[in-house]
Symmetry: C2
């Protein structure tokens, strides 16, 4: 049983109550706690030493990343973050100065995004550091933008550039909070999520939840410079080749927005976006189709991607 | 720098915003998110293999304990729990059946207390299992019952029996949710918290926050049977003696309620409690005084407890 199978099994029959608007399976849980014009967003996310950061990562960036990942999930619901709790699980021989710097990075991003840090706890995890953030946010009442709303014919968009995040961006990315709120206010988004496991993997969550498929246009993928550089470097080595477009499809931790809306809105959106966010790329990378699966179209035709996002790259 | 010193340093200058009613330093954070008649309670708590449970602990009880600890903190604010997220950090070679049983224990307690489990995540912690729960609750608007409200002359109460929890109670305790709500509805509590680090240690949090001291009456301490048995067993060994009353003062994980209220209400409370909760002991264990510190009174006089809750036991 892998992680996804385990989650599917565990989330099959969870206790619920009348406050739950959306439970397990979306970017955040959505609760109705009786705020007249708002619903509550609730999210946790953990980073673990040796997996999401290393002993060499500057501690300020560890703290920043821990909170930024959670903020990206609030952005994925077009929400506004409110308050966070910080769980620090530390080896016994922790360096207090380094822990203080973790908080410096975390606090700076919290202040920048209007988030109150309202407590948490320190506990012991003898072998490695683990930081878990619990974050609350709000979103205007109405239909929250979930993963299950994609419709055949929708245009598929992503913000920014994709791939190669582990070269540096994963420690410095900007959660797309303002962009997501603007999108939700001005356009009728059918689905919205953030990219954490790679476009191919995350898009599949939308497709499965919406029972549709997608065609992506290879030439439209906004491949990052980091992904191109990595592809070039690999080309001179014995490592198996990894074309930059494959990296854009399968590298994790992009933390950009992925969303769909009705095709007739696409041109209007691209124009308005350029006015509003001139420095951030917005790309229409494909469309939603009825046939299940993800197809990548290039000059040679359309190739179905396998479960890991791979396909024949020409 | 120990855990408490680190926390004091870290919580010195946390980012805040206008939603924060009470931040770090109480049993739960208290937020005003605009629910007309309620404030929001927000809490996280983690249990770690080898510290809060062992490889031999039945998995159902691990899951139950993880949630119960957080519920006890909601009880400590006289609140009602609403929804929880579950973070499971697992070694790579986890046993899916055992993880499912952890959820069984957790889900059963959630259903029993009206809590919705609205998601969470699984991540990797290679060497040991760690479970963190993030819990939301509500409490009627008005002044939340914090730790800083103790007044000279207050009577000090505890529910249940104290000491020896690690012999079994720590895996099976009932969070005192109904009792705390009843107390807050019917009496003017000045302070309220739950006992997790032992009466002597936890009372000190109230005393420091309220800038007062306390006299405890040794003969009034509700010493548990488990603490008495443990004291007897130690008496026959080479281990240093640990009188049962000391265990009641210093053993952790009691998860009973500790509260204070004005002395004139004490007798009325004891009478009403017996009617309402005939099966659960309620003990008046001492009173709040002006002099800083905790004094333990027995037939030989009053002895000041040291930082670890120890004193000369006659």
């Amino acid at each position: 049983m892998n992680e996804f199978e385990l989650i599917a099994h565990l989330t099959n029959a969870l206790p619920t109550n009348q406050t739950v608007v959306a439970g397990a399976g979306d970017d955040c849980a959505v609760l109705d706690l009786g705020v007249p014009e708002k619903l509550i967003l609730f999210k946790t996310d953990a980073v673990v030493e040796g997996i999401h950061f290393t002993k060499e990562t500057p501690p300020e960036k560890i703290g920043r990343k821990a909170l930024a990942r959670c903020l990206s999930d609030i952005a994925a619901m077009a929400g506004t973050p409110t308050a966070a709790l910080v769980t620090l699980a530390l080896p016994k021989a922790f360096d207090p100065e380094s822990v203080a710097k973790i908080y410096d990075g975390l606090n700076a991003l919290a202040a920048q995004t209007g988030v109150a840090i309202v407590g948490g706890e320190t506990t012991t995890n003898p072998e490695r550091m683990l930081i878990s953030i619990a974050l609350l946010g709000t979103v205007p009442r109405g239909k929250p933008i979930l993963r299950r709303g994609a419709k055949v014919g929708d245009a598929i968009f992503v913000t920014g550039e994709l791939g190669g995040s582990l070269a540096g961006k994963h420690l410095e990315f900007e959660p797309r909070l303002a962009e997501a709120r603007w999108l939700a206010e001005h356009f009728q988004l059918h689905t919205l999520m953030d990219l954490s496991d790679g476009l191919a993997g995350d898009l599949r969550h939308i497709l499965n939840a919406s029972q549709v498929g997608a065609v992506l246009l290879k030439s439209a993928l906004p491949v990052s410079r980091a992904a191109k550089l990595a592809a070039k470097r690999r080309a001179g080595t014995l490592a198996p080749p990894k074309p930059a477009a494959l990296a854009a499809l399968t590298d994790g931790e992009d933390f950009e927005l992925l969303f769909t809306l009705a095709s007739p809105d696409a041109v209007k959106l691209l124009d308005a976006w350029k006015q509003q966010f001139p420095k951030l790329k917005l790309s229409c990378v494909g469309k939603i189709v009825a046939d299940a699966g993800i197809f990548l179209r290039d000059q040679h035709g359309a190739h179905k991607l396998n479960a890991h996002g791979y396909a024949h790259f020409a």
